[in-house]
Symmetry: C2
């Protein structure tokens, strides 16, 4: 797993289990892995949690990142436990010497460190005042200097604010000032719907401008939802092509088949598919034939029936009750 | 309800009931109204549906838009029934004379017409080939000319593609070429999650650039979901300030209270609130105090308890079981 350069943008999440309970934590990480999470971060609130990281690391298949605040010794212990990256929030680690101890340990272990600036903690710690984009960038640049002075360059930067506008401005400014890989995220984005919308817009704007190397969508929800949303963001932008893309209409008074039910069945029936396939599930003759013809497999609805398209060609008419299973079967045939 | 100029960006949706069944249609429109929908569109597939529009119009409180394809007579009838706007898809209306009949009727009724270009129907109709941004814009410009030749300028334009990139490019190009209000949307965006992400990114990019006067999120889901997502998009961009904003963290191994449950209770308890209030529901001492202090009302979690903040000041410590109800009570107190 690489972050930055030509590597694909990776999707991260973070556990919300008690890290000291390694069984529960490993169980959640495995669920995240199976939902497509590519890098996982765990909180390290105390030394007991830090000492658990070796056990956790050995039982999972994706890179493990230790999230450390306040106490540099937790980062040093996490590194000795074999984690793959450490994230620190430089504003709350304390003196330069403490930050340097972490850098030295990371350098010896040859692992990267994420300098994770967060507007919430800038506000919490206080500091020079101001928590907007410029203050976040200047906090990050100050820390980058400490790292570079020790000839340490294996750095990832994040600049998360709960404000969409501040987050976007901060990353744009940072991208113009440094070449380190950027980890994107909007902090404390909120509950599932609001957080999904806010993160999609913010991360979408940045990624569409070529800014960002890895991302974590923060949601007050099951972490597996964060992974789903992250992958959908990449898919919508064409940065991740594998998997199922469903082009489906919202239905309207013109539609005479159950498009919502059919599209949901198709999505469920083809869940976890890795090959790139576009399926169109369209309700009527207005936009239906056009979208269905452009998809790998598609249908355009009519009266309790639909016309089936494969690779741009009309195949046959099918009855409403057969639409979902026909689409699933046709996609499976394609894959061979 | 104005579209364009300094008017706020409005949120639209479309019914998916059979328009000929006016009772069911009115019932769905009223539900949409109560979820915050500001303009509603209904499909007009035939003359029976067109003749129902007067009844529907008289029973609802928001502007009614007739969506007409293929047959110009349906648009003329819809206008005589008193609808507030007509949307036509010029590519499928047919001859110039037919389009002119619609314009003449709209001019007499003093209502606007939306020229709604859709990549799906461009593909369906065929035409000059190509369904990308430039083709959509050129199709719209061709029709604008017909309207302007009849000295009709009460026009709204939309250029919806199922591709996010094509949609964004088309609207950017159009915004550089004309001054008519733009109705934003990504067509056939897909099921709830995928469609929400795709629409949030596409509409978010455009609105953040100052492009767009009204929007409709297309989801293969209950139309009320479209309204919720539309309003969340405007809220995330600061284009709609009223209502509750919840800043809540995703929780992690550091959190010792049930943030997800608390945030959900707060959202439910304050549903439909119209005044602008920001509530922070944060799990721990890392980013919690900073976000809680910046919110109108906030909590930062600790061990089975939290510290309550009001307008930046620490008020008191509260037990976990009292957090949600205290936050709701504090917000209600603020409103007086």
């Amino acid at each position: 797993m690489y972050i930055g350069g030509d590597a694909p943008v990776s999707v991260q999440s973070m556990t919300n289990t008690d890290t000291r309970d390694w069984k529960e934590t490993v169980c959640q990480i495995r669920k995240l892995e199976s939902s497509g999470c590519e890098i996982v971060r765990v909180a390290v609130p105390d030394m007991e949690a830090a000492r658990m990281l070796g056990v956790i690391k050995r039982k999972i298949g994706i890179p493990l990142v230790a999230d450390v605040h306040f106490d540099f010794r937790l980062a040093v212990e996490a590194i000795s436990q074999g984690v793959d990256k450490v994230r620190i929030n430089p504003g709350n680690i304390g003196s330069r010497e403490k930050v340097e101890s972490i850098i030295t340990a990371a350098k010896r272990a040859r692992i990267p460190v994420r300098i994770g600036v967060n507007s919430g903690s800038l506000k919490t710690v206080g500091g020079k005042g101001g928590t907007g984009a410029e203050e976040m960038v200047s906090s990050a640049l100050g820390h980058i200097k400490i790292f570079e002075n020790l000839n340490f360059h294996d750095i990832v930067i994040s600049l998360k604010a709960s404000s969409l506008a501040d987050t976007v401005s901060a990353y744009r400014l940072m991208a113009s000032k440094c070449h380190y890989p950027l980890h994107l995220g909007i902090t404390a984005a909120g509950l599932k719907l609001g957080g999904t919308v806010k993160s999609s817009i913010g991360l979408g704007i940045l990624l569409s401008e070529g800014i960002g190397d890895t991302l974590r969508v923060s949601l007050t929800a099951d972490p597996a939802e964060e992974v789903r949303v992250g992958k959908e963001i990449l898919k919508a932008l064409g940065l991740r092509k594998e998997g199922l893309e469903i082009v489906s209409c919202p239905t309207c008074g013109r539609c005479e088949i159950d498009i919502i039910g059919i599209a949901e069945k198709v999505e469920k029936g083809l869940k976890g598919m890795s090959r790139q396939v576009r399926v169109a599930v369209m309700g009527c003759a207005v936009n239906g034939p056009g979208e269905a013809r452009e998809a790998d497999i598609g249908i355009a609805g009519g009266r309790r029936a639909a016309v089936l398209f494969r690779k741009g060609k009309v195949i046959r008419k099918i009855r409403e009750k057969d639409i979902a299973k026909t689409l699933i079967r046709e996609v499976r045939k394609l894959r061979k």
